[in-house]
């Protein structure tokens, strides 16, 4: 367990740096960016303390905000995701007992994980763009940009998951 916490702290830092220094500047087709750092929240084990998930989500979002100078935007969106995640775990998790498992293609099954990730990532991205615009006037643009970025993020997540699941089998 001690090693686990260390590896989570390590991945937290890696996600923040990767997002802040690389992914925020991809600007695919003009202005579509992936927000891969949400994978940190998706990978938190099921049955994890809900308060802790929310606080971690808030801190993760705030760290990203410090990089992009958008104080509160990523924090608010990631917090929403942290709030929803345990509920989604309840719906999609294959096990009834409270044993901790890390959500992924292997543990959840490919289809279930795709549904689970899509719902959470879409919720995060729509919240992110709504907070970023900070108005409901531009709803159509918020939805359009949100969906474009969601597809990009999900593509990256699924590629990473694919290699993770393969690696686990090889072990």
């Amino acid at each position: 367990m001690g090693v686990d916490i260390l590896s989570y702290i390590f991945s937290f830092v890696v996600y923040v740096l990767l997002q802040g220094l690389v992914l925020n500047h991809i600007n695919f087709l003009g202005d579509v960016n992936p927000y891969l750092y949400v994978l940190f929240i998706l990978h938190l084990p099921t049955g994890c303390n809900r308060t802790m998930v929310q606080i971690l989500a808030f801190l993760l979002g705030l760290s990203i905000d410090f990089f992009s100078g958008t104080i509160g935007v990523n924090a608010g969106a990631t917090l929403l995701m942290g709030f929803l995640k345990p509920h989604m775990d309840k719906i999609f998790s294959p096990r009834e007992d409270n044993k901790m498992i890390v959500p992924g293609f292997r543990s959840y099954g490919t289809n279930t994980f795709i549904q689970y990730a899509s719902i959470l990532v879409l919720a995060h991205h729509i919240a992110l763009f709504t907070l970023s615009a900070f108005t409901f006037d531009k709803l159509h643009l918020v939805l359009f940009k949100g969906v474009c970025s969601t597809l990009f993020t999900l593509l990256l997540i699924f590629i990473i998951e694919y290699y993770r699941s393969k690696r686990r089998i090889d072990d």
Partner: protein, 283 residues
Amino acid sequence: MNTLLQFIRKFSNLILFLLLELVCLILVARFNVYQGFQVNTTCGSVIGGMNSVRTDVNQYFSLTEQNQMLAEHNSRLQGEIRRLESRLLQIENDTNYLKRKAFADEKKYTFHTARVVNVRRDNFKNIITIDKGEADGIRQDMGVISSNGVVGIVSGVTEHFSLVLPIINIDSKTSSIIKGKKGTGIISWSGGDIRKASMEQVPNYINVAEGDTVETSGYSTIFPAGINIGRVESFEKGNDDFYEITVRLSQDYSSLLFVDVIDFGYSAELQELNSKIIKEDNK
């Protein structure tokens, strides 16, 4: 009291979520882009330093492109010099012209070249950070251009960095004119495609055509007249007496590396004059 405690315990996660979300909303509302920018580019701060390093690394990868651009810019300027030289030859006999020209030069605009450190382009409030600040003579409300045309307006200055509000920010408004047609209007961006902006308040008795050049009007001290903004892509007559014009921007925000900040020497004086007029009006 006991039931209240039980209630809090039962809904502790929901309460925590709502509280933190409220904090976020307050942060978003309170920290506008400029304060956010100060948080992330304050000199010596870790993140500001890392962003600079990232830009340095990126610039290495685009050295060829940059050379190409500078060479093009150079040749354009060479051409300009030749054109001006020949024009000067033509009019050298007109001493009055030279006198007027000297006067104009005196109050003319000076330029500070700056490097683009960061372009935040992932949402509605796009922001550009450049590596010149107060110490280099940059002040609030100076115009920023590149060899492609207008970039934006300086809207936040720290010691060594400045923040530029580009045309592609939903808060940006730039006074503009359709070249040769006297049709003035306001350029603004609606939040969609970053290659297009809309031009409003152009009266519809003016004969607009697709492909017309849109440039700065020179009615403010921010930009001199005649700096390229873009071309009319499409237009239609709106409900009122104004056109709704879509402009294809000449500025390519995805390859912006160097910009020029325009320093209009007399802007303080002119502002003082304007504020006097406003005071007179208020009396």
